[in-house]
Symmetry: C3
Subunit: 315 residues, 3 copies
């Protein structure tokens, strides 16, 4: 593995999951692999789970960790080419990426969608430039369109909890007060489909995901429709891809509640967190024994550690 | 020791002080105790001494340190139960605490009083929830009502400087431009009384501390009254407990000055810092040879290291 | 070396450069030198290169690193003596410096010019107080008037790239949308002159640097004038020293462009970064094979590591 930017960087998803589960059992088996190696964690957006779990994974492998918040500790980066930089952005991503790369052996970066220009976001304008100019292996800690560390974690958690060989998975849109990117949903669709799972996506009309990520999933447009016989219910809000970045619905009947969960095959509940309680999911569901949200979050360490160990082996 | 949340977690205050003083002499005697152990330092409020001294203490014990600022790097946490989370708080403390706990072996948290709802603050609403959901040993790095790491430091410093077996200690209220919590004052009263010292608290009427913390202290209401024969003068501002969170006085005669210090038994001056010079205390007092403020601050490392080593022994 | 505050702390510039180049070849030759030693990195202003490169240098020497942002994580510091602190600054630099010093073996600090009071800035009011009260060796990570780690890096980079024994160096002022300190320019002049190089400074009238730093340099006032036969062109904006902190020119003809670079002896282009593209320097120049900006930035690690190793040897 030379980068971990999207699902295509995982040659063998199943083997990566197995490696993560091995690390979960024996976190220090490779604690010298990262000796004298430094990872830079670059945040252009806030982070809790990703920040701490990636740091922990690096520590478990014996790496040095350097953190940089580009808001607060640093400054906004210019990403356009050829621009006259006389505005509020004091540094171009060309320099910033190359400089960070020169100090690190591996660089992990978080850079969310702007949700203003679909082409910029779906061409991964910032991430692609960072990769191009950084010169070091890159880990995507959530970009404009995908969140592969989260999706790998999700597959690890499904593997730990599935009873059927090929469980029925529902990815359901849910309401949210804010306008959010499609990254987690895109990525979850892409990875579960790549893993060969049976995926249904339920969302209001106009919220269909890009077929680049969701091709092969069944799509339904009524809140209750996908729950029947589901083994896993994965809730997430996202803004419209078609009407890019727009909020088309606040329909509360899309909230995951105990009533709809009764339609399932005693399904497990999943969410990447942070989650808006009683907006995205009812307390009674997220607080039930079937809720996997904390297990998912704690598995972030093993997903990151599996990815990091593969990158370190290739340095 | 399973948590270090308040004075009740210290089975034996004297032994803890002795252990801290031992570590001060030999900082690296237990430098492998924290190997492969990670402490998370969680800040919901700004910090200088607590941040650096706790980090240093953990390093001295061989621990890994992960820091998280919940403002800036993260986000505001919801602390109410059953609420519909459609406002400006994207995550509930239930999830945040459990997730942080899953990444760490010990979690230290700073969460100040809101000073709006006395019951919320004095029930330690946030800290108690964090303990409940985190699932790991918790260190209180100043909560709504107490600051036990500071008080342990204060007792260490008194031990190093006292001449009499049972010195006379004055805790005096002092003016301040801002409205501050009672935590440091509560905690200082509680720990000095638990240690069996002779404590007088001087404050304007209406600034009496809760008897939960200050029972057993003599209380006086004139600025000069408590200074007579004092061996230690500990200055601190706090807002009213009775008229909760209110500022009742800006009376400058409560500032600690050279004049009043002359009434003492050549008393040492103490303050937890940061301190407003020439508001809380006159330059001539804090800059005198009797000032212990830097020694107090530097002892924060040994207090934290003593507590951490006790928690690590019990993991 | 007991401090690294300005050029006078470098007993032997040539030897320091050689030591840095040795460390560049063998970064881990002294990886136990910093064992059980802690450096505090104190930022009163934002930083990217300085933050990461100094951290990396300390890690390479086996040191522990503690970071503190005094805006955000901490608070603003009072720097006036004898003031009544009832405003928005909750702590005096006297206490803050002493406390940080008590937790660290070496302290590195960044504190920019205020550009309001020339005397305060040129007396290094904040840095000098920090040194005075901190009690530990200090590294200047850019102060009001100088940026010695940058200048040492610049000399390392010139050493790596010069062909003539005594190359001709041009330091040229360039336009900028903001009002910037003179620190990088002062320091570059001071160090190149101390190293015995032939330095020309080109700037609009009114932008002459203080002779304390630039004495011995040739000064010219037309954009093209200094380029003739130059081996190195170092671009930088600064505000006026004479009309202190003022912006006197936005003349775009001072931008470094391909046309003016043609006048040189195939000169290398240098800048400390961050740089405003197409304001300070044209894309075609900074993107050319003659641009050294990334090499400069990456050499920051070796400059810092050379300085740190000298300070550690003296502890």
């Amino acid at each position: 593995m030379n980068n971990f930017v999207d699902v295509n960087d995982a040659d063998n998803i199943e083997a990566l999951i197995e490696h993560a589960l091995l690390l979960k059992k024996s976190p220090y088996d490779f604690e010298n692999l990262g000796k004298r190696k430094t990872i830079g964690l670059i945040f252009m957006n806030p982070s809790l789970r990703t920040r701490l779990s990636t740091q922990k994974a690096a520590i478990n492998l014996g790496m040095n960790v350097m953190m940089m918040n580009f808001s607060g500790e640093g400054w906004a980066l210019e990403t356009e080419q050829g621009v006259i930089m006389n505005g509020d952005k004091p540094e171009h991503i060309k320099e910033a990426a190359a400089v960070v790369g020169s100090y690190c052996d591996i660089v992990a970066i978080r850079t969310f969608a702007g949700l203003k220009d679909k082409d910029d976001d779906y061409n991964e304008l910032i991430l692609r430039q960072f990769i191009r100019y950084c010169g070091k292996p890159i880990i995507n800690m959530e970009s404009a369109t995908v969140h592969p560390l989260q999706s790998l974690t999700d597959l690890i958690t499904i593997k730990e909890n599935k009873e059927a060989k090929n469980p029925k998975i529902l990815l359901t849109w849910a309401p949210h007060p804010k306008v959010l990117p499609q990254a987690v949903a895109n990525s979850f669709a892409q990875w579960t489909l790549a893993a060969g799972y049976d995926l249904t996506i339920a969302c209001p009309k106009g919220y269909e995901l890009s077929t680049d990520f969701a091709k092969g999933a069944k799509v339904v447009h009524k809140p209750e429709e996908g729950y029947m016989d589901a083994d896993f219910v994965y809730a997430k809000n996202w803004s419209s891809f078609v009407h890019y970045g727009k909020k088309l619905s606040e329909d509360k009947s899309w909230m995951v509640d105990a009533e709809k969960m009764k339609l399932t095959n005693n399904a497990k509940f999943m969410h990447c967190l942070p989650v808006r309680r009683n907006v995205v999911v009812e307390d009674s569901v997220i607080d039930s024994v079937n809720s996997l949200v904390i297990q998912q979050a704690s598995n972030r360490v093993w997903a990151a550690q599996a990815v990091l160990s593969k990158l370190l082996e290739n340095l």
